[in-house]
């Protein structure tokens, strides 16, 4: 267990815990306006201060964690659920038209950064958290497809796969029985990295108004609200930013630590 792994696990679980607790308890009602107490700096009453409507920042950060985690988690889930089977199929049928179609499709999706997908969806259906999930999720599909295919291809060359084929096992069965368990570590690590990228992407989308809509608090929109007040109330911008950094840093450290712990040889794509 490396320092990375422990620090990463601690930071990530801290944020996860905050998100979970927010379902049952927050110091204040995150939506309650309290104009007289507006723009307070962090103090004993309001640990993270209050915003321009006098809402408690600590409560908003807790509920915002919920939004971020939910969006990123579902997006990674979409990416894995569709990307991994596509990657396994492409590898099992290497060189066939199916492989070609899957890989060309991947390349095509890579040409649409998630922000662009979000813009398209919003232009058609209007803004909302679901758009953010779909946009980030779609972008995650080729990431997982590509990394699964790459790892699976080298496994297909290995002799234990040939031995399984000699034992009469078909491609689907070999993929499930031999390939998937041997790429699982890689997928866990990549999943952690994509999770952290998802948090960043969600923040960016809600900052420009393409993510979760009011009154649902989200870290990105808290930053957008803070922008005009940054000169006289810098804590409004500092605190949500630090929340994002702590979460992403924690997840990245967790990913790196997991990789070293599970298998130091696996490589993770990071872009």
């Amino acid at each position: 267990m490396s320092r990375n792994l422990i620090l990463g696990a601690v930071l990530s679980s801290l944020v996860l815990l905050a998100a979970l607790i927010s379902f049952v308890w927050t110091p204040y009602d995150y939506a309650a306006l309290n104009i007289p107490d507006k723009l307070q700096s962090p103090n004993t009453q309001h640990w993270f201060g209050t915003d321009h409507f006098g809402r408690d920042m600590f409560s908003m950060i807790m509920v915002g964690a919920r939004t971020s985690i939910a969006v990123a988690l579902v997006a990674v889930g979409i990416g894995m659920a569709l990307g991994v089977p596509l990657g396994l199929t492409a590898a099992a049928r290497k060189g066939s038209w199916l492989d070609e179609v899957i890989m060309r499709g991947n390349d095509l999706v890579f040409a649409f950064p998630s922000l662009v997908i979000a813009i398209l969806i919003t232009a058609v259906f209007g803004a909302g958290a679901i758009n953010a999930i779909i946009a980030i999720g779609i972008f995650n599909i080729p990431v997982f497809a590509r990394i699964t295919r790459g790892a699976a291809l080298s496994l297909w060359e290995r002799e234990f796969i040939l031995a399984a084929r000699v034992s009469g096992k078909g491609a689907a069965r070999i993929s499930a029985e031999h390939i998937l368990p041997n790429v699982a570590n890689l997928l866990i690590v990549q999943g952690t990295i994509q999770f952290s990228l998802g948090i960043l992407a969600e923040a960016g989308l809600s900052y420009v108004g393409l993510g979760a809509q009011p009154p649902t608090p989200s870290w990105g929109r808290m930053l957008a609200d803070a922008q005009t007040m940054v000169s006289f109330a810098p804590h409004l911008a500092l605190i949500p930013g630090l929340a994002i950094i702590v979460t992403v840093l924690g997840l990245n450290l967790l990913g790196d630590g997991l990789r070293d712990w599970l298998d130091p040889r696996i490589r993770v794509a990071r872009a």
């Binding site: 399984a164 084929r165 034992s167 078909g170």
Partner: protein, 532 residues
């Protein structure tokens, strides 16, 4: 004064002892071979002379080049020596060259980095040494990239780099291990010629006793980081003192006695098989070319027969193996096992497949690292209509593990707990567990140390007696095929050029290629009764 003098060299890496009190010496114009199995520390000895040891290595003792100590030389002085006074050739020619630089640049770099001569002259020298190693500039211009050369040609480039400045000492670490036997013979001749011509000392590291037997002036035998025996080659081979040396010698030429095979009845029939691979188009609107890996191959393997297939890399023997296993379709001809075709499209014909199993070369890649031995060796049960369950399954596992010389308790272990030789035993158990009619051994002992290889060959001979095995033994190693088969086929460029009874083919080869192969294969001298 000796050219190279190593005295009491000890080496530890991160606290674990790699070398213990090694001593050896080389005179100018002399070839000294250091030999031993994996883990003997022979390569580390070479790297210690170059002072290119891995991080965390601590060396004691002395290494002297012409009386000058190397062990405590500052790094910049070592840089000046490397390439100029000591040249080195490595094992893997495929990866030893920088893929993005031309061979000319890489040979010239040796000269230029030592500022030995101006650029134009360095270019001439590079051309000259490349010609000397057999790559004349009119056929192999300096502008070639490594990927445009074969393995043997690349090794020649590596040698050219090493000798460009006429070093006094050349170190060759397994220089021919990755090469085919005919290429190996050429490279060994080249090295011998260079030593004679330039009066260099050659420190040759090899695991193959046969390679050094007819080349080295001195032999140093190492085991577990210690020199167990050393001396002049002829004297040492005739008066082996240490039991390990004797064992190594015996194992290198290990012979087994196969039980008589039963009377002929065709099991595997291969008729006029052709296997083509599509090649990428050379021009945009040209029809894609084809590469014929297997060309009109026919043979019959009888029940109870032990058939060998020998050939060098790229001759098509692996392709043929895959076709026989029914993993790939063929473009012409017919492969039948017990009368049934082996290939049946995407859905394998279990009835045919269950008559055939395979043992591969790589003891490390042959098993799913996430499964236990019991699950690994029972994988072929998938082929059976009614696979044994419960205690029947347990009994079969225990029986097979015992048959290959392991313990039934090993069933619960993971593969990483076993050595290379043990893994090959497990691979044999997996192949044997459904009692197939035919087993393919695809270079099954090629990755093993000679002593382990001898044990596996003994095991095969035992299993032949116990289970009436029929097998096809595919290998590039002539000495192994000679002892483990009844009949042999020689393959070259996709075709079988000669086949016949093993002993007859080896003693009276008819095809010129077979003769070339047999002559190129290094052999141990016949020293008669001295070896058990």
């Amino acid at each position: 004064m000796n050219l190279l003098q190593i005295d009491d060299l000890s080496l530890s890496i991160h606290g674990s002892d790699i070398l213990k009190q090694i001593s050896l010496s080389i005179e100018p114009g002399e070839i000294v071979a250091v030999t031993g199995e994996s883990g003997s520390g022979k390569s580390m000895t070479a790297l210690a002379v170059m002072q290119l040891l891995p991080h965390g290595a601590v060396a004691e003792g002395t290494i002297r080049l012409e009386g000058q100590d190397l062990l405590n030389r500052p790094e910049d002085e070592m840089c000046a020596l490397r390439g100029a006074s000591i040249g080195m050739v490595f094992q893997e020619p495929m990866t030893a060259l920088n893929p993005v630089k031309t061979v000319g640049d890489q040979v010239m770099e040796t000269i230029l980095v030592h500022k030995a001569m101006p650029r134009a002259q360095a270019r001439e020298r590079a051309q000259e040494v490349l010609r000397r190693v057999g790559l004349p500039a009119d056929r192999f211009p300096l502008s070639r990239f490594p990927h445009e050369l074969s393995g043997g040609q690349r090794q020649r480039v590596v040698i050219a780099m090493a000798i460009a400045l006429r070093p006094k000492l050349l170190i060759a670490d397994e220089p021919t291990t990755a090469l085919d036997v005919t290429t190996q013979a050429q490279i060994l001749d080249l090295l011998k010629g260079l030593v004679r011509e330039f009066g260099m000392g050659l420190l040759m590291i090899t695991h193959d006793l046969a390679v050094v037997a007819d080349m080295a002036d001195q032999i140093v035998v190492m085991r577990h980081g210690e020199v167990v025996e050393s001396g002049a080659t002829n004297h040492l081979l005739r008066n082996m003192q240490h039991p390990y040396t004797r064992m190594l010698f015996e194992a290198s030429g290990h012979q087994v006695t196969l039980p008589a095979s039963v009377k002929p009845h065709p099991l595997l029939e291969v008729t006029n098989v052709v296997r083509d691979y599509r090649q990428p188009r050379k021009r945009l609107f040209e029809a894609p070319g084809h590469y014929r890996a297997v060309n009109n191959v026919s043979f019959t393997l009888n029940r109870g027969e032990r058939l060998g297939l020998v050939g060098e890399s790229g001759c098509g023997k692996s392709t043929l193996t895959r076709a026989i296993l029914g993993l790939e379709d063929v473009q012409g001809g017919d492969i039948r096992l017990d009368g049934q075709p082996v290939f049946s499209g995407h859905s394998p014909d279990l009835a045919v497949r269950r008559k055939m199993q395979v043992v591969f070369q790589d003891p490390y890649g042959s098993f799913n690292p996430r499964h236990r031995v019991a699950r690994l060796i029972t994988e072929p049960f998938h082929l059976l209509e009614t696979p044994p369950t419960g205690s029947g399954r347990q009994d079969r596992i225990a029986e097979m593990l015992s048959a290959v010389g392991l313990s039934p308790d090993d069933a619960g272990k993971y593969i990483h707990e076993f050595s290379g030789g043990q893994r090959q035993r497990i691979a044999i158990a997996r192949a044997l567990i459904i009692r197939p009619e035919l087993i393919l051994f695809d270079e099954a002992v090629s990755a093993l140390d000679v002593s382990v290889r001898a044990q596996i060959l003994d095991l095969l001979a035992e299993l032949c007696a116990a289970y009436d095995l029929t097998y096809l033994f595919i290998s590039h190693d002539l000495s192994v095929v000679r002892t483990i088969t009844d009949r042999v086929m020689v393959m070259q460029a996709g075709q079988i050029v000669e086949q016949g009874a093993t002993e007859q083919v080896f003693s009276e080869p008819r095809h010129p290629y077979t003769r070339t192969l047999i002559e190129a294969a290094p052999t141990l001298p016949d020293i008669g009764e001295n070896v058990a």
